[in-house]
Every structure is written in structure tokens, then in C-alpha cells.
């Protein structure tokens, strides 16, 4: 157990990477191009993997390296590639006008960030590594929800769900240092992978049937 870096630097690095994740999330909220959105998600996952890397090298925890490797392979490379391919195959370039326009969205997300910090406040003492990480994680979850409500393209909704998942995984690191036991992490990873593949299938079928990926057209079922 030889820590490669000192605990102080590790904490600061984690806080920095977490804030970078949040910055990427806010960029996502105001991003209209689908391909760029997918890349932004990949970058956000890269930062999450970076946090895992810092935890792993600081604590010399082998199992966290496994999780980092899975995150890199799955969320930084495979899923973005998959979504990218799908978007290209469907020839859809950009998101239509969101329900709430971009400046207002930005303001709302600022509000959600404050909310995240307020909710996380009683628990900051519990964090073992890095301040503010939990607050950022909760903010990621909240803004992910907002992103999902605000967008109408099915692919963007899938991305929103994935950022929510990133937020939850960040919360796990913030609260428990090492994240969850390996078997649980493996199960979650597998679920996310299969989930996106299935969602992709569904999006493809929606696109074929409706000649559109606009989920606001899915509005026949009422009552």
C-alpha cells in the first residue's frame, strides 16, 4: 500500500475532476449537435474514470483499477461509438428546439447546482475524499433529469440517462471512497451496457415506424 500521491493532492485532484464533470454536463445542456453531445458524454466518463484512477493509485486498490478499465472501455469508447454509429446511420444531425431555451436552461441548471450543494451539505462530513464531490454528484443527477425532460430526441434522452448514472457512480465514490463491491460494479456495468444496446434497438424501431426520433410524437396513449 504505497500511495503514489499524497492525500492532499488526491483530494484536490478528485474535486477538480468532479467539477470538470459538472462543467461538461452544463455544456451538454446547451449543446444542440448530437455528435458533439455524444463526445461530451465520453469526456465526462473519462473524468469519472480519472477519479477512479486517482482513488486506485492513492489507495493502491486493485479492484478500483478494474472498474476504471471497464469505465474506459465501456463508457468512454464503446457506448459513444455505438451511439455515434447509430446517429450517423439515421442521418440526424441536430436536436430540435428544446422545450426551455438555452439561456433559461443554463439559469435553471445554476439553480439545480445550488440545490445539489444544499442537499449535500449535511453529508459533507461523511466524505472521505475530496470536498464537494457529493454535491457535484447530486447536481449531475438533477441536471441529468432536467436534460431528459427538456429534450425531445430519443438519443439525447438516452444520453441524459447515462449522465444521471455517471452522477450516481460519482456519489458512490464520494460517499464510500472505493465505490461499491466489485460484483455490484460489474452487474451495474453490464446493465448499463445491455441497457444502451436495447435502448438503441428501440430508438431504431421508433425511427423506422414514426420516421422520426422525436419522442414528443409518442403521445397517443392517454388516461
Amino acid at each position: 500500500m504505497n500511495p503514489v500521491i499524497s492525500s492532499d493532492i488526491a483530494a484536490q485532484l478528485i474535486a477538480l475532476l468532479a467539477v470538470l464533470m459538472l462543467v461538461v454536463q452544463l455544456l451538454l445542456v446547451v449543446q444542440r449537435m448530437l455528435l458533439t453531445s455524444i463526445r461530451l458524454f465520453a469526456v465526462q466518463s473519462l473524468f469519472l474514470a480519472g477519479i477512479g484512477g486517482v482513488v486506485a493509485s492513492f489507495h493502491g486498490a486493485v479492484h478500483v483499477y478494474v472498474v476504471v478499465a471497464l469505465t474506459l472501455a465501456g463508457k468512454v469508447l464503446f457506448l459513444p461509438w455505438l451511439l455515434d454509429r447509430q446517429v450517423r446511420r439515421m442521418r440526424i444531425v441536430q436536436e430540435i428546439e428544446p422545450l426551455v431555451n438555452f439561456p433559461t436552461s443554463m439559469l435553471l441548471c445554476g439553480g439545480l447546482t445550488v440545490l445539489g450543494y444544499v442537499v449535500a451539505r449535511p453529508f459533507t462530513a461523511l466524505e472521505r475524499l475530496g470536498n464537494n464531490t457529493l454535491a457535484v454528484a447530486l447536481t449531475l443527477v438533477l441536471t441529468g433529469f432536467f436534460l431528459m425532460i427538456n429534450r425531445r430526441k430519443a438519443i439525447t434522452q438516452v444520453l441524459a440517462l447515462l449522465t444521471v448514472e455517471n452522477g450516481v457512480m460519482l456519489a458512490a465514490v464520494a460517499l464510500t471512497t472505493y465505490g461499491m463491491p466489485l460484483v455490484v460494479e460489474l452487474c451495474i456495468f453490464f446493465d448499463v451496457l445491455v441497457g444502451v444496446i436495447i435502448l438503441g434497438l428501440l430508438v431504431y424501431r421508433i425511427r423506422e415506424t414514426f420516421a422520426s426520433m422525436d419522442v414528443s410524437k409518442l403521445s397517443q396513449l392517454k388516461g
Binding site: H63, T176, P181, I188, G223
Partner: protein, 494 residues
């Protein structure tokens, strides 16, 4: 007996059956394999019941899998509903295939995914780790979403999309709740990876940080509550249940909702052990009552048979939650019993609705019109008996379980809750029976030629209705014992 890997087999048999259907081409073979697999799982479930009663909780795989009385009860429900579904699916899809409504590829999808869906549900109730349990709930959502979208119609895609998106959001929140519980387990624990097993957490529950546990329960309630179809997170439920093929609707309504409720129950038991029972109980009670009162008007105004049945499921989930929320041994017992009776009743209604759909090509009451009793007498009998049972009339068991919950509530001095429950039940009762009088009696406007399918669905409906009638008048002692033990687990009296 100890060398038998019951729990592992319970997971492996349906999973293997699902995968074995991948290369098969014949519908008969796939349906037969499904029936066989679920027959075996039912036998395994009965074996598990015996072992749990004889020697307490069973663990396997180094504590990875664990079954106590509550799990054993859920295993039985999953197995019997899956078996009935497999029995019904063969002939149901034969007709769809002949009508060209689905392709052989989609048909294979059904017979592959349904056993995997069931295996996922078995894992939910058998996994000891709360993290694995979460992943298993997610797996059931993922394996069932393509089943909901099987017909590939516009509306079924819409139903599936709403199901998977709302379910996904709910499960993300449930995962956050799961993380909070693990954080509570990690706090003040020198080990880097303390056990995430529910059975271990129960032993340390009083020492867990109450703030974290409270937060965890709220997230789990909203998250798993969404998947369980609790109001106000139920909006996906009527869409998914009405758009899925009828055998899938039967699985979703008969067991899948209760599996999500089971996941919530594990959190409820844990948080009761940490915080005292009041906190989580009152929340469950409030959502249960809300579901009941939301279901009643929607049952009355529905124009679509399967949507109405979906709202009736919302009602019954509400009854179960009220029973759990009242929290006395009697009401919890009633709630568990209600789960069982409902699992036997609701699939019958969906099978009958499937027959109607295939004969009339619509589920709208107006489109079906009067005279189902004349046109499809056997289906009408199944629908009628199922509806009488679901409405809570004697001699069917739901009457007794509802009475147990209400009576238990009155005995516990919760007069207001009991009266509210009774009022909602009467409203749902009236709504359900009134709606069915729109289609069952009378003379059909258009004389329909008998299409030689009068006996469709009899094996599946007969199995469930027969079981319901039998168990309504006579509960076998082992079932009674396992119910009492399960009620003790939920009530915190191990």
C-alpha cells in the same frame, strides 16, 4: 438434500431455457421448452418452500444467494405466473402468427426473453446483496421492454419507451438509494469493502447512520415505487400493460410489480430496524392510499379493457401497500396473502383479454360491444370469474385478504385508514363490474361466426382459477406457515 443447489438451479433453469430457444425454429418446441422450464422451477420453488420451513433461511454461493420465507413466497408467485404464461403463450402466438400480426423472429424474441425476464425476477428475490438486487431489477426492466414493444405498433413502441425511460429514471434513483445504504455501511467501518448483504446489514442496522438510511429509503421508495407502479409514479403502467402482448401483460401485472415492491420491502425492513417502523411505514401507507384513490376513478372511465385491468392492478398494489403500511402482524399477513391471490387472478383477466383482442381486433369496450357471453362463452366465463375475484367478492380469496387488511386496521385502531380503504375498494368494485356489463351480457350486434377457438386459453386460465378457488377455501399448512414467517420478517420479528 444439502447437496442440492436449489437456488442456483432456480436461476439457471429459466436462463438456460431462454438461451436454448435461440437456435430453435418451431413455435411448438419453444413453447414446450418454456412450459417445461417453468414446470421445473415451480417444483424447485416447492422444494425451496419445504427447505425454508424445515431449516430456516437457505444460502448458497458463499452467501451470494439467500432465501428466507419472504423470498420463498415470491419464488412461488413468479413460478406459477410464469408457468401459466408459458401455457397460454403457445396458442396465443399461434393465432397471432397465423394472422400475420407478428413475425417468427419476434416470436422467438418472446420465448427467449420471457424466461430471462423470469430469471431476472428470481435473482431479485434470491440475491442477498442489495447492489445485486438492484442490478437484477434493472435486468427485469431491460428484458421486459422488448416484450412490451413486441408488436412494433406505434402505440406499443410508445408504451415501451415510456416504460423504459420512466423505469430508468426510477431505477437511477433506486441506485442512489442503494449507494446511500452502502455509504451507511462503510461509515465507521475500518474494512475497505464491508458486506453489502441485506442479512449482514440487518445485524448492524441499529448502528447505521439514521440520516443516510432515511435518505436511502426515500430514494428507494421513489425508485422501486416507480417500477412497482405506485401512484404518483404509475403513469407508465397502463401504457405498458395495455400495449404488451397479453401473456407479457400477465407477467408484468401478476408478478413484476410485486417484485419491485419486494425490493422496496427489503429497504423498508432495514430502515425499520434502524429508524423504528414509523417512518417508512407511514410513507408506504400514504402512497398505497393514493394509488387506491387514483385507481378508482380511472377504472370507471377507461374505454380500453387492458388499460382498465392495469388500473385495477394499481388498486391491488395499493391494497398491498396499505397492508404493509398499517404494519400489524395481521395486516402484513393479509397483504402477503393478497399478493398471492392477485397473482392468481390478474393473469386470467389478461389471458381472457388477449382472446377478446384476437377475436374482435380491438380492446375498446365500444368496439367489442355487448354479447361476449354469446360469442366467446369460455373466455367470457374466465373474464367474469376473474373480474368477480378481482373486485373482491366471495368466495374468492381476494375478498378474505382484503377483509384481513381492513379488519387488522380496525383492530389496530386505524379506523380512518380502514374506512378509506373500504371506500376505495367499493368504488373499484363498482367500477370494474359496471365496465364489464358493457361487454359481457346481451346479444351481439353482429352475429360472429364461431372461429373454432372457443376453448382458447382454457389450460392457463383453468390452472390459475382452479388454484385460486382451491386456495381460497383451503390454504395448505406449509403455505400458511411460510406466510406467517414472511409476515414476521416484514414486521421485524425474526
Amino acid at each position: 438434500m444439502t447437496s442440492m443447489h436449489l437456488l442456483t438451479l432456480l436461476l439457471a433453469v429459466p436462463a438456460a431455457a431462454g438461451l436454448a430457444c435461440l437456435p430453435l425454429r418451431s413455435r411448438r418446441a419453444m413453447a414446450g421448452l418454456n412450459v417445461l422450464a417453468f414446470g421445473v422451477t415451480l417444483a424447485l420453488g416447492l422444494g425451496l418452500l419445504r427447505r425454508v420451513l424445515a431449516g430456516g433461511p437457505v444460502t448458497e454461493g458463499g452467501g451470494f444467494l439467500r432465501a428466507d420465507a419472504l423470498s420463498a413466497w415470491m419464488v412461488l408467485l413468479i413460478a406459477i405466473v410464469s408457468l401459466a404464461t408459458a401455457l397460454d403463450a403457445g396458442r396465443y402466438f399461434q393465432r397471432d402468427l397465423a394472422a400475420g400480426v407478428i413475425t417468427p423472429g419476434r416470436l422467438r424474441e418472446f420465448f427467449v426473453l420471457t424466461p430471462l425476464f423470469a430469471a431476472g425476477m428470481f435473482l431479485v428475490v434470491l440475491a442477498d446483496s442489495l447492489g445485486v438486487m438492484w442490478a437484477a431489477v434493472e435486468a427485469t426492466a431491460l428484458s421486459s421492454v422488448l416484450l412490451v414493444a413486441l408488436y412494433n405498433r406505434r402505440t406499443s413502441l410508445e408504451g415501451a419507451w415510456k416504460y423504459v425511460m420512466l423505469g430508468g429514471l426510477g431505477l437511477a434513483l433506486a441506485l442512489l438509494g442503494t449507494v446511500f445504504i452502502y455509504a451507511a455501511a462503510c461509515k465507521n467501518n475500518p474494512l475497505p469493502f464491508p458486506s453489502f448483504n441485506w442479512s449482514h446489514l440487518m445485524t448492524v442496522a441499529p448502528q447505521l447512520d439514521p440520516r443516510l438510511v432515511r435518505l436511502a429509503f426515500v430514494f428507494a421508495l421513489v425508485g422501486y415505487g416507480t417500477k412497482a407502479g405506485l401512484a404518483p409514479m404509475h403513469t407508465w403502467l397502463p401504457d405498458a400493460h395495455s400495449e404488451a402482448p397479453s401473456p407479457t401483460s400477465a407477467m408484468l401485472s401478476g408478478v413484476s410489480l410485486k417484485i419491485a415492491l419486494y425490493a422496496l420491502l427489503r429497504f423498508h425492513i432495514l430502515s425499520s430496524a434502524c429508524l423504528g417502523a414509523g417512518f417508512s411505514r407511514q410513507l408506504v401507507l400514504a402512497l398505497g392510499l393514493l394509488s387506491l384513490f387514483l385507481a378508482a376513478p380511472f377504472i370507471l372511465v377507461q374505454d380500453n379493457l387492458k388499460r382498465m385491468l392495469a388500473y385495477s392492478s394499481l388498486e391491488h398494489i395499493g391494497v398491498i401497500c396499505v397492508g404493509i403500511g398499517l404494519g400489524t402482524p395481521l395486516t402484513i399477513f393479509g397483504a402477503l396473502l393478497h399478493m398471492g391471490y392477485h397473482a392468481l387472478t390478474k393473469p386470467v383477466l389478461f389471458f381472457a383479454a388477449g382472446n377478446l383482442h384476437q377475436s374482435y381486433h380491438t380492446l375498446e369496450f365500444r368496439g367489442i360491444g355487448h354479447g361476449v357471453m354469446v360469442t366467446l362463452p369460455v373466455t367470457a366465463l374466465g373474464l367474469g370469474l376473474g373480474a368477480v375475484a378481482a373486485a373482491g367478492l366471495p368466495p374468492f380469496g381476494l375478498f378474505f385478504s382484503e377483509l384481513t387488511v381492513i379488519g387488522g386496521g380496525i383492530a389496530a385502531g386505524q379506523i380512518a385508514v380502514s374506512v378509506l380503504l373500504l371506500a376505495a375498494l367499493i368504488a373499484c368494485f363498482g367500477g370494474l363490474l359496471l365496465q364489464l356489463t358493457r361487454i359481457l351480457p346481451g346479444q351481439p350486434k353482429v352475429a360472429r361466426a364461431h372461429d373454432g377457438r372457443a376453448w382458447d386459453g382454457v389450460p392457463a386460465m383453468g390452472l390459475l382459477l382452479g388454484g385460486l378457488l382451491l386456495f381460497s377455501v383451503w390454504l395448505p399448512p406449509p403455505v400458511l406457515a411460510v406466510l406467517h414467517q414472511a409476515a414476521d420478517i416484514i414486521g421485524g420479528r425474526p
